[in-house]
């Protein structure tokens, strides 16, 4: 008995300590980023000023004045929102069909969709750039960014929704059919209310993925449709490394999504555990 109590006591201390350590390791870069954003470029590179420095808002002022932060931010909001919306508009009916009216090929289709995620993006970089720039003339447009963000996230959207919809007992949908509900009514009055948590977490995650996407948004835009990823990228090199400024831009780019995630925590967790309650 004594050893059990002792070992559990040790566990009471050891596990939280370990958890804190892991959390700190994850958190440190963000902490460093935010800290650095309040330093001057000169202070930012000096190790002795890691913790003691004179805080300044100069980087932030500079960012909004000289770099037009808001234009990039608005582009990010527009492209991420619409891409998420379109992905759901396509994903909900698709996942619905596959979950409740599966055919022999449903599993293959799901696998095929996932396989598109295995394609190295760099492999299609040249055709994408060439086609959109010289052929379709949609390079650096909101339309292109929305389309690309929507398409690259669609497989994950459909997979996630499919998993959530699978949790809904088929009989409830059938009861709806017996009650004479239309196809649209089935989705609107039964499916969406029942899978609301799942749909919300899918939307949230898709939005986060779109917001964070950097490979395509950086390469398929120049000015008009450029998002915050492009802003960060643009601040990286032109006049050498300016850590203070770069940190401010980066902080301003990740802050909205972190705040959003923070407020939606409950919804995210609810979405992930929704299936437990039938």
């Amino acid at each position: 008995m004594a050893t059990i109590t002792q070992s559990s006591k040790l566990g009471n201390v050891l596990w939280p300590a370990l958890a804190w350590m892991v959390a700190l390791i994850f958190f440190f870069p963000i902490f460093w980023l935010v800290f650095t954003s309040f330093k001057t470029d000169a202070d930012a590179v000096k190790p002795e000023f890691l913790f003691s420095f004179t805080p300044t808002l100069e980087n932030y002022a500079n960012m909004t004045e000289n770099y037009d932060y808001w234009r990039f931010a608005i582009n990010s909001v527009i492209t991420s929102s619409f891409a998420t919306l379109f992905a759901l508009a396509v994903g909900v009916p698709a996942a619905y069909a596959m979950a409740f009216d599966p055919s022999r090929h449903t599993k293959d289709i799901l696998m095929w969709m996932l396989s598109t995620k295995m394609l190295p993006a760099a492999a299609v970089l040249y055709p994408m750039t060439f086609l959109t720039k010289n052929f379709l003339g949609i390079f650096d447009t909101h339309f292109l960014v929305i389309l690309v963000l929507c398409l690259i996230n669609l497989p994950i959207v459909i997979w996630m929704l499919f998993t959530y919809f699978k949790e809904i007992p088929k009989e409830i949908i059938e009861a709806g059919k017996m009650d004479g509900v239309s196809l649209w009514g089935e989705i609107k009055d039964i499916l969406i209310p029942l899978a609301w948590g799942g749909i919300a977490s899918t939307a949230l995650l898709t939005f986060i993925f779109c917001w964070n996407e950097a490979y395509w948004t950086v390469r398929l835009t120049t000015v008009d449709a450029a998002t915050l990823s492009k802003l960060i990228e643009g601040n990286r090199a032109p006049e050498g490394l300016f850590f203070g400024r770069l940190s401010a831009v980066s902080t301003a780019a990740v802050a909205p999504i972190i705040i959003l995630g923070w407020f939606c925590q409950k919804q995210l967790v609810q979405g992930l555990t929704f299936g437990a309650v039938k």
Binding site: P169, E171, I172, E174, A175, G176, K177, M178, D179, G180, V181, S182, G185, D189, I190, P193, L194, V277, K278
Partner: protein, 344 residues
């Protein structure tokens, strides 16, 4: 209200045929029970009537109207599911009103019908609750209520009691019987439980492997099973079967006829009466006695190794291993062809 006519109804999934041409007539107001072991096609048949499963061949008619291509909601049928299938995000009232709302019924009329149904099922107090705050029995009532408010021509029940505990099952079974007496609507009820079938049905349809084995009243099925399968399925404990070699010499006199090698005889456990060795129709070595107070189930085994059960009022005063003799009234013995299983 309406009757149903099924003509050569078939169902296949790809190349696999699961219903092999079912013909059935259901009278207006009849309580019909589809019964059979799992996988016999009883639920599939019900779902084809409901409109939830496509009909691969033949016709289903409700009243005078062929409904093969009519949507589920337009067939005038209402279904009660095994899992209740209530809408978890709606209150009891909304659950029951949902179908009427889809049909654009006047709100005052919806209110009247839901409350009337709730009255019948004694769930008036729960109308504002959500299904998750109800017990299994209450949920099943709501599911039945949802069917009642639609005032259907035909009620369909898909194993509605199998998710309830034993006591509640008996009670709900009684309520469904009362409901049928009160509404006098045609009801089709699917179950694998032969007790439910016997107690509820006007007419039982026994299914096996997508074919109808026999249709008849419970007592017909019990007294004159058409084949060995039905004989074994109806009645509890199951009917005992013996071949010619399994019976003692005295059985020819005791049963009033001999048994050829191509025949077998079926004797129900409750028809076995203890008797002297000289009058024995069946003899067996005592293996085990299950004493249930009201009656005893005596498990025996013949010399040839056939296990059988006798249901007696009193447990026999005999030790394990002793040989017991039983007689059966000749007119209570059932004879079947060994090869085809058909009644002789």
């Amino acid at each position: 209200m309406a009757g149903l006519t099924l003509r050569d109804v078939r169902k296949s999934y790809g190349a696999t045929q699961v219903m092999h041409g079912v013909d059935l007539d259901i009278e207006d107001g009849e309580f019909v029970v589809f019964v059979g072991p799992s996988g016999c096609g009883k639920s599939t048949l019900l779902r084809m009537i409901a409109g939830l499963e496509e009909i691969s061949g033949g016709t289903v008619a409700i009243g005078d109207q062929e409904v093969n291509d009519v949507a589920a909601s337009k067939r005038g049928v209402a279904m009660v599911f095994q899992t209740y299938a209530l809408y978890p995000h709606m209150t009891v009232f909304k659950n029951m009103a949902f179908g009427l709302k889809q049909a654009k019924t006047d709100p005052a009329e919806i209110d009247r019908r839901v409350k009337a149904a709730a009255e019948i099922l004694q769930i008036t107090d729960y109308l504002d609750r959500s299904p998750r705050n109800l017990s299994g029995g209450q949920r099943q009532r709501v599911a039945i209520g949802r069917a009642i408010v639609r005032d259907p021509e035909v009620f369909l029940f898909d194993e509605p009691l199998s998710n309830l505990d034993a006591a509640l099952r008996v009670q709900t079974r009684l309520e469904i019987a009362r409901l049928h007496q009160r509404l006098k609507t045609t009801m089709i009820y699917v179950t694998h439980d032969q007790v439910e079938a016997m107690t509820l049905a006007d007419k039982i349809v026994v299914l096996r492997d997508g074919r109808i084995e026999q249709v008849g009243s419970p007592i017909e099925l019990y007294e004159r099973p058409a084949n060995a399968f039905v004989a074994q399925f109806i009645g509890s404990p199951k009917m005992n079967f013996f071949g010619a070699g399994d019976l003692p010499q005295t059985s020819t006199t005791a049963l009033g006829r001999g048994l050829s090698d191509a025949e077998e005889v079926g004797l129900r456990p409750e028809h076995m009466v203890p008797c002297s060795e000289a009058d024995a129709a069946v003899q067996g070595t005592l293996e085990l006695i299950e004493n249930l107070g009201e009656y005893a189930l005596v498990h025996l085994i013949t010399e040839t190794g056939v296990e059988f059960i006798a249901k007696t009022e009193q447990p026999p005063a005999a030790a394990k291993g002793s040989v017991l003799s039983f007689s059966v009234k000749p007119d209570l013995a059932h004879y079947f062809d060994k090869a085809t299983g058909l009644r002789l």
